[in-house]
Amino acid sequence: MTHNETVIPERPAPRLTVGPLAWLRANLFSGPVNSLFTLLGLYLLYLLLTPAIQWALIDADWIGTSRDDCSREGACWVFVNARLGQFVYGLYPGGEIWRINLMFATFAALLAWLAIPRLPFKRWVAPVTLVAFPVFAYVLLYGGHFGLPVVETHRWGGLSLTLILATVGMVAALPIGIVLALGRRSQMPIVRSVCVVFIEFWRGVPLITILFMASVMLPLFLPTGMTIDRLVRALIGITLFQSAYMAEVVRGGLQAIPRGQEEAAAALGMGYWQRMGLIVLPQALKMMIPGIVNTFISLFKDTTLVMIIGLFDLLGIVQAALSDSRWLGFAVEGYVFAALMFWIFCFSMSRYSQYLEKKLHTGHKR
């Protein structure tokens, strides 16, 4: 029989297991082999990074107006500088660019309002962003009302077109995807089969084919004289394609919610839409954040495919600029710039999703 009344006092962990030095020792130099690999890795990094930094920053030309200003050995950022307006705004008329700026400033403000938890009136801002804002954006960008001159969509382009395609695709694909996922899990055989067929059809066809069909085949089915704008066709194609993917992401999330949750909601007298909207979807969407953002990121990058139906998104317009005879030979700079822009947007989405996941975490499941 043992018996112990004294409480052992708390004391700090041994010094060699905490702190940066201990971290280094545990993770990088925990043995002779690991130490060797660490040093080898550092050396490889050095080999790779020095020339890259040398080319992109140290030996680069930044200021100027023509290719003659690029006299040094490194990158010629003058090219990107000179074309920046086009890269961002496409062929949008110079005097009307304020319209794009105003549209994106409004959008950024609305998004920030929704994204920052402290700000009030979210239940009003959300519908404004989803319903009123697209109308506002369309009127502003396309013009034709309130004395704004019309700017045809074939003049839209560059980063702004990429953002328009991606945002519309995301905002439209998520709700359609949710409805499709719910339909695929439905007890009603007709609803279920329609959803399954829709999802499997759009998921089984490459996006590039869909864009081709939208631009070449769709006009054949329309009555003569009726045309749908090329941009709208691309948007519809992208949205339907992505919503099929989104549906499968959402379905995966729905399946992860224990059946007991829906049963408990049902036992409390809630109807189908209340059970889904109040209990199942909020939990499922939270778990689906990584999957949803993953789909968003791939959608963002897939927008570059609209190039093949003659829309000039960011990558398309960079490529077009490369064939300008005054700027031949600066392909690397152009592509590095495009890659960097894409990376910045995709990385921000990824970071925000991680923040959301942390914020919405409310302890273990059940």
Binding site: G269, M270, P282
Partner: protein, 257 residues
């Protein structure tokens, strides 16, 4: 309002729950066989039996979480049919407590209790919250109202689940093994709440293996095996003088150690 008034007038005469010749199959497996059961208002029933005997399925049929294929179920004078509106009407008057609590983990304890009153009964938030706090106090957990279910112990979660059901003012409560998933030291706090509820005259159907609870609270104990009701009796004769051989065997197995 008028619906409820009619219900309670009829209530004195009609039983709260009535099952007549209920049969149910999972595929080819015959889970419920010819169940006849009548539960009067204010009556406390304990259902026990070996696992797989269909006792959970039986009470889950009462609020149509499971569908029966044959027979008739009438809850509070309302016959249970395929009609969704009617099912939802019945569910509003039937509370249920689950083995695994099934609290909504993304909502606080208070929100768990307010959700259905606000969305189903359309009560204003303030009224729903005041009422929720009242019930949370009754199960002695009001101080945890702002926490999330994941931050509570099993016993606390189950008490919240009971309060959540009570917020809908059910006329009958179904308990589906409410203490089976709990650590031993937490069983008593949940049983105490249930005993309290029984004293206040709530109609209760409990699937449980807590025989002490059955002895103190139940008006009737039902023993089920292989989808059938084998024996049905008041607790004293049920435990002291079981008639069927299978009941004797079951009781010796769970009381014998």
């Amino acid at each position: 309002m008028s619906e409820q008034a009619i219900d309670s007038q009829a209530g004195a005469a009609t039983p709260m729950v009535e099952m007549r010749g209920v049969n149910k199959w999972y595929g080819d497996f015959h889970v419920l066989r010819d169940i006849h059961l009548e539960v009067n208002r204010g009556e406390r029933i304990v259902i026990c039996g070996p696992s797989g005997s269909g006792k959970s399925t039986l009470i889950r049929c009462i609020n149509h979480l499971e569908e029966h294929q044959e027979g008739e179920i009438v809850v509070g004078g309302v016959p249970l049919t395929q009609d969704v509106k009617r099912i939802e009407q019945i569910r509003r008057s039937v509370g249920m407590v689950f083995q695994h609590f099934n609290l909504f983990p993304h909502l606080t304890v208070l929100e768990n209790c307010c959700l259905s009153p606000m969305w189903v009964q359309k009560k204003p938030r303030r009224e729903a919250e005041a009422q929720a706090m009242q019930y949370l106090e009754r199960v002695q957990i009001a101080e945890q109202a702002r926490k999330y279910p994941g931050q509570l112990s099993g016993g606390q979660q189950q008490r919240v689940a009971i309060a959540r059901s009570l917020c809908m003012h059910p006329e009958v409560m179904l308990f589906d093994e409410p203490t089976s998933a709990l650590d031993p030291e937490m069983i008593k706090e949940v049983l105490d709440v249930m005993v309290e509820l029984a004293k206040e005259g709530m109609t209760m159907l409990c699937v449980t293996h807590e025989m002490g609870f059955a002895k103190t609270v139940a008006d009737r104990v039902i023993f089920m095996d292989q989808g059938q009701i084998i024996e049905e009796n008041a607790p004293e004769p049920f435990f002291n003088d079981p008639q069927s051989e299978r009941t004797q065997l079951f009781l010796s197995q769970i009381l014998g150690h």
